[in-house]
Symmetry: C2
Subunit: 387 residues, 2 copies
């Protein structure tokens, strides 16, 4: 086990009806709140009205930024930053899924920075201050509700990049599983794939002697596998939705990478794909991850054997390690297919024409990943296997 | 799953040599620090000198309170409170195991309260302010390094009671596994039992549909079972010590009780035993817990079947639920015995003469526990089974 720091300052408020705690939680910041949300589903569901009422009941003054995109765009974020400056915004409340929260984080950092917020994604600047934010989560997926990371896309340059800071941890996040009853099937599927992929990135590590972190990771995967299917069968299964949400939060709240060297290469590759094609992140990950697994598993086959046996209950009797590992990888692909995720880039209309550029961008700062360090050629190989 | 709040403000700094971060972590509080520790093992190990050097290097002024007892005593805590008042203490640094940290917490709350600190344990007063504290942990056991709870004993009345507050979470806790290399065998054993017991209290619940919390609990137990034996074989096995420490922290840092109704009856009973006999907490728990299990398992036998199969790999083929559950309970007892923990009160010189008083005290506020609500008669029955 490596050394680490574990420090998570977000207050998670979880359960049915917990949006009624919004007024109390946000009460230190009632002047000039920026309400950030997406495409309008929160208006259909009634959540928008409830939030406005909660805020009105404590006398809060608010501005609004609607229309955050699924891969949140720099141009929209810049609009938010302008509102913050014009209206002296003191707090940002994100109501939505991971994209809305990520946009709110970028706005929070950009509002107090005189330069271009994109600078934070290219290490041209470090976040030294940020507006406080809070969230009401409506989708089990990214885990952004309990960490300091944000992923945004620049559509002028087709670049999708991350920024992060301890200052971007939400002050509070409210999670009511009932708010996710109306999430469409494809978004539930993408969320399931996203959560599982986050675990993969931190589980497939060369770090040894981390049994607790591994058991936690396996527990999250087993919970998602079982409850994902239940939520797809019945979208209003409260416990299935609750278990998915909690698993999604724990997959990215700093629990899994303690003392572990995480990988993240597949995310880097996927970001290059969706930066060009605006593919939902979960679809890209479903296509790429099993192919990454096949490309790298021999670097430490026993970890993939453990994965196969513990997570997928693969029978190991009379089989070689390679066979067991490959059965675990196939079980992953089969599960993704069973829940309706795509298996190839062709299915989602992507051919090889931009592979060179994707591989160049993915490796522009050098080899990527830690389980196996991937060169440009490795990335091309994984992309070609995904056609 | 029930609703819950998850909010843990402690910064955990974990790894070899991390005591060298003390100066930086404590730097906001360099004036008038109270250094609290136990019986002198930190002087033998050299940790005391290192801490003093770190504090000297940032120009901190310090007072000291040595001699905190294994079941920390109200009289000693009152000494610490007096020092805080006399010397205008601004920060308390606890260096030691759970008892030292619990004492530091009680001092931190008592220093800013004009009445008797015992009031917080009998609900006569609520903690509304406390001095900030930090810890350097030297024993895998209580988890007090990352929560707001404290257990103290009043030897005038033979009462052992708890207090707790969000204000008592340490600002930081430093954990260096190498600092636990010299922990004596019996203290390592007691720590193992303590950690497992904390998990039991939160795992054996009547709350359903909490698969993630259950997998986390099982993962902690499996990690402790495996690494406990390794640490006992070789006290200087860094990874075994590290895994035990991390498991101990997670067993009590708020991860397991999210959305779950925990039990805690066995702790209440054990506190009554050790308040009269000054028995190490871990010994009392090792004796009592398997007997509590046998007394209650039929209230929800399937949870004990799950425990037996997942944690102890009990073969369930052709067995009744009762048989499987009882085999899991026996495996628990066998493990405790294998590592050298006592199995009966007689072994540690305790007879039935105070059972009535213990049972009366344990149930003075009504029935205890949630998995099965225990009456005074239930408590007596568990005590008599433990002779």
């Amino acid at each position: 086990m490596n050394g680490f720091q574990l420090y998570n300052t977000t207050r998670l408020v979880f359960g049915k009806g917990k949006v009624n705690r919004l007024g109390e939680l946000i009460s230190p910041y009632i002047d000039n709140i920026l309400l950030v949300y997406g495409g309008g589903s929160i208006k259909k569901s009634g959540l928008y009205n409830q939030v406005k009422q909660e805020l009105a009941s404590i006398g809060a003054t608010i501005e609004e930024l609607a229309g955050i995109e699924p891969n949140p765009r720099l141009s929209t974020i810049n609009k938010g930053i302008q509102i913050c400056r014009d209206k002296n915004i003191q707090f940002i409340l994100a109501v939505g899924g991971g994209s809305v929260i990520d946009a709110a984080k970028a706005i929070a950092a950009g509002a107090l920075y005189p330069g271009d917020v994109w600078d934070f994604t290219i290490q041209k600047a470090t976040i030294t201050q940020a507006l406080p934010i809070g969230t009401i989560l409506t989708l089990a997926a990214t885990g952004s509700e309990m960490n300091g990371g944000s992923v945004i896309t620049n559509w002028e340059t087709n670049q999708k990049r991350t920024m992060g800071s301890k200052l971007l941890y939400p002050e509070f996040s409210i999670i009511d599983p009932a708010l996710t009853f109306t999430v469409p099937r494809n978004q539930t599927v993408n969320g399931i794939v996203d959560i599982m992929s986050h675990v993969f990135e931190q589980y497939f590590s060369q770090t040894t002697s981390t049994p607790l972190q591994e058991r936690f990771a396996e527990g999250i995967l087993q919970t998602v596998i079982e409850n994902g299917e239940k939520a797809l069968e019945n979208g209003e299964d409260y416990d299935a939705r609750a278990n998915l949400l909690l698993a999604g939060t724990y997959a990215m709240n700093g629990t899994l990478p303690t003392g572990v060297e995480a990988d993240w290469a597949t995310h880097v590759i996927e970001h290059e794909v969706s930066a060009i094609y605006d593919l939902p992140h979960g679809e890209g990950l479903a296509i790429l991850f099993p192919n990454w697994m096949k490309h790298v598993y021999q670097e430490r086959v026993e970890k993939f054997v453990q994965y196969a046996v513990r997570v997928w209950s693969i029978d190991s009797v009379d089989k070689s390690d390679d066979e067991i590992a490959l059965e675990g990888i196939q079980a992953t692909r089969d599960y993704f297919t069973r829940i309706g995720a795509p298996a190839t880039l062709s299915e989602v209309g992507i051919d090889h024409s931009h592979f060179e550029r994707m591989a160049d961008e993915a490796t522009q700062f050098g080899d990527i990943g830690y389980f196996k360090k991937l060169t440009k050629e490795d990335v091309l190989s994984i992309l070609h296997a995904s056609i």
